[in-house]
Symmetry: C2
Subunit: 151 residues, 2 copies
Amino acid sequence: MSEKAFQDYYPEDLSHCFGCGNQNEKGHRIQSRWDGDESVCTFMPEPYHTSIPGYVYGGLIASLIDCHGTGTAAAAAYRNEGRAMETEPPLRFLTGTLHVEYLRPTPLGVLLELRGVVKEIKGRKVVVSVTLSANGEMCARGEVIAIQMRL
Amino acid sequence: MSEKAFQDYYPEDLSHCFGCGNQNEKGHRIQSRWDGDESVCTFMPEPYHTSIPGYVYGGLIASLIDCHGTGTAAAAAYRNEGRAMETEPPLRFLTGTLHVEYLRPTPLGVLLELRGVVKEIKGRKVVVSVTLSANGEMCARGEVIAIQMRL
């Protein structure tokens, strides 16, 4: 895996997202990187990120899938253009649609692993499927249709 | 609109959800109520709930749709059984799937209004569609398939 995360290449004025902006001190500041053709991100929920006691809040799961999806979309778009993420112009994506299936309750107190796979790149649209696992068991899966911002 | 919110009828041990549990001091503690056949909930995002500057974080939008959807599902199930929400046994729902379409950027600093409509009640499953508006303009819409917990 590379050192810098996808999110570290976001333009500074577009790095305030609560989910993934490294400028948002109150946010989740997720970090996504390539692991071969998959993107990977780990996240440790806080004790208050609960749904029913002992399990992770579904809104957090949706949020992680969302931001890992848009981050993966950006990284995939650079790859698709054959250029490094530090090159200009910057590519940044917003969520068009988000779909999440909750397969089983996600235990709290465990490092979560998200893995993204790029399903489609077409024009300004990138479709990313994302799985979320805890203790090696898939707890949720989702799909993000990400749309490239006009900067 | 009735005085107590749907979430105020959740059993206390199931009231810790970050999105809707009135026992979670760090959470959003949303409050949903009937307005005729629609359920309604308002929410004021914090300044740090940002995506791109000036706009609301999509993960928060997904979270609000999710919890307003499961709250509406519970209230609808009581209504469907012809009983008040304070009667036993309690009905509490979890999210099976969550789908969100982001129609336009949602402005920060504005009270958001969520409205839910029950599309289907079948066995332990309730399907709720939810819209999210700011300044009277619909910014996102979603659908929650909620599954009744076995208590």
